[in-house]
């Protein structure tokens, strides 16, 4: 049977259409599940009575692990802010990952630290620990500082896991801004579940341009730059729609490295953070879930949609490109490492839904889209483009992108309505209209480049820089207008908020 050129083109068109329809269906289901989950969450947490929790002597103790690398400029303010979190029993464990600046010296001087000759566990192999410091001042009795040889963020967190005292660990980026009740809210899935909870994650919000006072968000403002606003929409889609929906079906594969809580025992049994992947936050959760499933222990992963953690997103195209490149590599590495789970009913929702979804719509989507673009260029080159057809195809993709972004806006309005001013809503709408044309192709290319880099064997994080969240204690500081570039931010962006690109693939 002979197939002519036109037939090939028609078949390709049908394949692209089918793929697009499957993605659309996935997003529609995700929106529905997410809506149900958000509604139930709001109803379940209608009774604001946290006093009982704060007064209880039986609340699980938490170790907050905050890796720091070259944080000299902000570390004191950040730690002070962490020390004021509302929770009855917690310790802050700052892990100085071989900083080349005066991070450790500043910590020692400001918090009156002395070297504690305690023996520490080595559940997970890490770089050498040079010392563990505690404070002589009882006001800082829940602060512990670990000084270690540089080994990267995963290694620093593993060291924290080895040296911390409590059974629940909360891994954070030291420069993230946490709401005062962040720990109280994130621990709830651990408390209010009949199944074993191995981890719980929260929503990461964009702090760019927000007004910060004493390390807390005072006023939520919309960033001035288009790139940051586009990421706000992306975060809405990823967290309010994607993660909530996956949480509903207990299929979450990722808890952001910027703010996640874990059962320490399970983390240790799973082997801790993997140093050899650039997406270790996702990899750890997948490994933990896989282990629980293989051991046939009933368990779940919690997700809290309240805005609890605020972070700065990249404000330059170059930095964004590096970040998305790395996220793609992290996703592909994780899926490759755990390929056994793909389509494997033994792993339940994870095997049948989550991992295939990630493979087709996170990993393959930008590649297929890229080939679609190439296909279009090919047709154009040979003069085969019917512009009416192009307009229709483009129209359907564009209209769906807008629909999806507006759905995300709806979720924000329905749930937490953080951007209160009407003009913010209008600007976000404008961003939604422009994003598929300006922002999305760029992110798609970054993801494709990530795949190329992975094939070429690139393993590095890539240098990440942030404009910076400023000195969090500074009064009424506007994030966008401050701050020299902070080396610490480079380290923190290495692992932070892998929000998954799921919602950026239209």
């Amino acid at each position: 049977m002979e197939i002519n050129f036109n037939q090939i083109i028609e078949i390709a068109s049908w394949i692209f259409l089918a793929y697009g329809l499957i993605i659309c269906a996935g997003y529609i289901f995700s929106a529905i599940f997410s809506l149900i989950e958000l509604r139930d969450y709001k109803r379940a947490h209608n009774f604001k009575d946290e006093l009982a929790l704060l007064q209880s002597s039986h609340l699980p103790k938490i170790s907050v692990l905050a890796p720091a690398y070259n944080e000299e400029a902000n570390v004191i303010e950040n730690v002070r802010s962490l020390l004021t979190l509302d929770y009855p029993f917690f310790e802050i464990v700052v892990i100085n990952d071989g900083s080349a600046d005066g991070t450790l010296q500043r910590l020692i001087a400001n918090f009156d630290l002395y070297q504690d000759e305690m023996v520490h566990y080595t559940h997970i192999r890490t770089q050498k620990v040079r010392g563990v410091y505690s404070s002589k001042n009882t006001a800082y009795k829940n602060l512990k500082v670990i000084d270690k040889v540089n080994g990267g963020k995963a290694d620093a967190l593993n060291t924290g896991i080895n040296c911390c005292s409590h059974d629940i660990i909360c891994c954070i980026d030291v420069d993230c801004i946490l709401e005062r009740d962040a720990l109280l809210k994130l621990i709830k899935p651990f408390l209010n579940n009949t199944k074993k909870v191995i981890a719980s994650g929260g929503i990461i919000r964009v702090a760019n341009s927000c007004t910060i006072e004493d390390g807390r968000i005072i006023e939520v403002r919309l960033p001035d730059t288009f790139i940051a606003r586009a990421q706000i929409l992306e975060y809405f889609r990823a967290f309010l729609m994607g993660r909530m929906a996956w949480s509903r079906v207990d299929g979450l594969l990722l808890i952001s490295g910027a703010f996640g809580m874990f059962d320490k025992k399970i983390v240790i049994e799973a082997g801790g953070y993997d140093h050899n992947t650039v997406g270790e936050d996702m990899e750890l959760l997948v490994r933990m879930r896989r282990m629980m499933r293989e051991r046939k222990i009933p368990y779940t992963v919690g997700f809290v949609p309240d805005p609890l953690c605020w972070t700065e997103v990249p404000q330059s195209w170059k930095v964004l490109h590096r970040q998305r490149n790395r996220w793609t590599r992290g996703t592909v590495e994780t899926l490759t490492l755990h390929r056994k789970m793909l389509f494997n009913p033994k792993y339940g929702v994870l095997g049948i839904l989550s991992t295939p979804y990630w493979m087709f719509f996170e990993w393959f989507a930008p590649i297929i889209e890229f080939f679609g673009v190439l296909f279009f260029i090919f047709l154009m080159f040979f003069g085969h483009v019917n512009w009416m057809v192009f307009a229709i195809f483009f129209g359907v993709i564009y209209s769906f992108s807008i629909l999806f972004s507006i759905t995300a806006l709806f979720f924000e309005e329905f749930s937490f309505q953080q951007y209160k001013k009407p003009r913010y809503l209008i600007r976000l709408l404008g961003t939604a209209l422009l994003e598929p044309i300006i922002y999305h192709p760029f992110v798609m290319w970054a993801a494709v480049k990530g795949n190329i880099d992975l094939i070429r064997g690139k393993k590095s994080w890539g240098k990440m820089t942030r404009t910076g969240l400023s000195n969090p204690t500074k009064k009424k500081s506007n994030v966008d207008s401050q701050l020299p570039q902070s080396k610490a931010a480079e380290y923190n962006t290495k692992k932070t908020t892998n929000i998954s690109t799921q919602t950026s693939e239209h």
Binding site: L17, H58, L59, K128, I402, E413, Q417
Partner: protein
């Protein structure tokens, strides 16, 4: 060469599908956008209504409580008819009454209850309680509990085994807060495990229980492990030393969670009689329980007991060895810092650690 015809009539199906989809998406996007704007306006209006009603309620409640010339029966009828027309209005009124009830005592508190009944809020909540929606039931129970309003027990009891955690918790808290000789009597009827969350709220309610604290040992043989664990915690918190013999038996309970809590509670109560049992059980316990036993020896035992468990520590179990070393150093601070340092710096240095 045009691969597809340009005439609308001859369009292939794929184009028609795309066109229909594109238009549908645009219409949906527009509709959703309208919903977004509507939501914004609706929420703003609702907040504005809430603020206005709160002011009216504050004024009304203050007059009701403190103004002697206030015609209570007439005003209460008028206020209910004029201002509490919808479910939303009644919810705001309930919130305000709860705030007043929490902050007032004695006669004023009784007047707040009077208002609660007078404004028809009791009937409103009873109808919620009989509705199917779990969140209505949970809210109704929450209000009845916090307003100290008694309702027929047959409405509450079935809910202590509800499928929803939230309803179960509110039902438990309601029953616990009722003035009764046996506030924990409902535990006999519980056939689902208590979450930690529920336990914490129960613990909090018991702190305010006006009568004699119940004897928690009644439920130490309960079929549900979490109920036993809760009672063990409470026995220690309320220093019910008379229950130590029953607690000692639980060190051999088949459920490891119960065994662990029994050790923790007995340790908290400094019951040294458990040490011989713990030392005897040590070799067959899990690592987590062994760590708990070591911790107990540190707190209420001596170096002698520590040495008794030493032979049962597996040479490969580094975490236990570290615990052991820490406690050994606690009992005998002469263990040189340099030795500890050597242990820390050697990642696999098990051989260097001599117990």
């Amino acid at each position: 060469m045009d691969i597809l015809p340009t005439s609308f009539k001859d369009w292939p199906i794929i184009l028609e599908i795309n066109l229909v989809l594109g238009i549908s998406f645009l219409i949906l996007a527009f509709m959703l956008l309208c919903v977004v704007f509507y939501l914004r306006i609706y929420k703003n209006m609702r907040n504005s209504r809430k603020e206005k009603l709160e002011i009216l309620l504050l004024d009304f409640i203050n007059n009701y409580l403190f103004n002697d010339e206030f015609d209570k029966s007439k005003e209460i009828m008028e206020f209910g008819a004029r201002h509490l027309k919808t479910g939303f209005d009644r919810k705001i009124a309930l919130k305000q009454l709860l705030i007043f009830h929490e902050n007032l005592k004695g006669e004023s508190s009784a007047l707040i209850k009077e208002l609660f009944f007078g404004l028809g809020l009791y009937n409103f909540l009873i109808s919620d309680l009989t509705k199917a929606a779990w969140y209505n039931k949970a809210r109704a129970l929450f209000v009845f509990c916090h307003m100290d309003v008694k309702i027929p027990e047959e409405l509450v009891e079935p809910l202590i085994n509800s499928n929803r955690n939230e309803v179960r918790q509110q039902a438990i808290l309601y029953l616990l807060n009722q003035p009764a000789d046996n506030p924990l009597g409902f535990l006999d009827k519980v056939d689902r495990g208590l979450t930690l969350w529920q336990q914490i709220y129960m613990e909090d309610s018991l702190k305010n229980y006006p009568g004699d604290m119940p004897d928690f040992s009644k439920w130490l043989d309960h079929k549900i492990a979490s109920v036993v664990i809760f009672c063990l915690k409470m026995i220690a918190d309320h220093n019910q030393f008379e229950n130590t013999p029953a607690m000692l038996k639980l060190i051999d309970h088949p459920d490891p969670g119960v065994r662990q809590q029994a050790i923790i509670s007995l340790r908290k109560m400094e019951v040294q009689e458990m040490l011989p049992i713990l030392i005897h059980n040590f070799p067959r316990e899990s690592t987590a329980l062994k760590q708990e036993i070591l911790k107990t020896i540190r707190e209420i035992g001596s170096e002698k007991e520590l040495q008794l468990v030493a032979p049962s520590i597996n040479s490969k179990d580094r975490a236990l060895k570290i615990d052991y070393l820490r406690i050994a150093r606690y009992f005998n601070p002469k263990i040189a810092g340099s030795k500890l340092k050597a242990f820390n710096t050697d990642q696999l240095g098990l051989s260097k650690l001599s117990l």
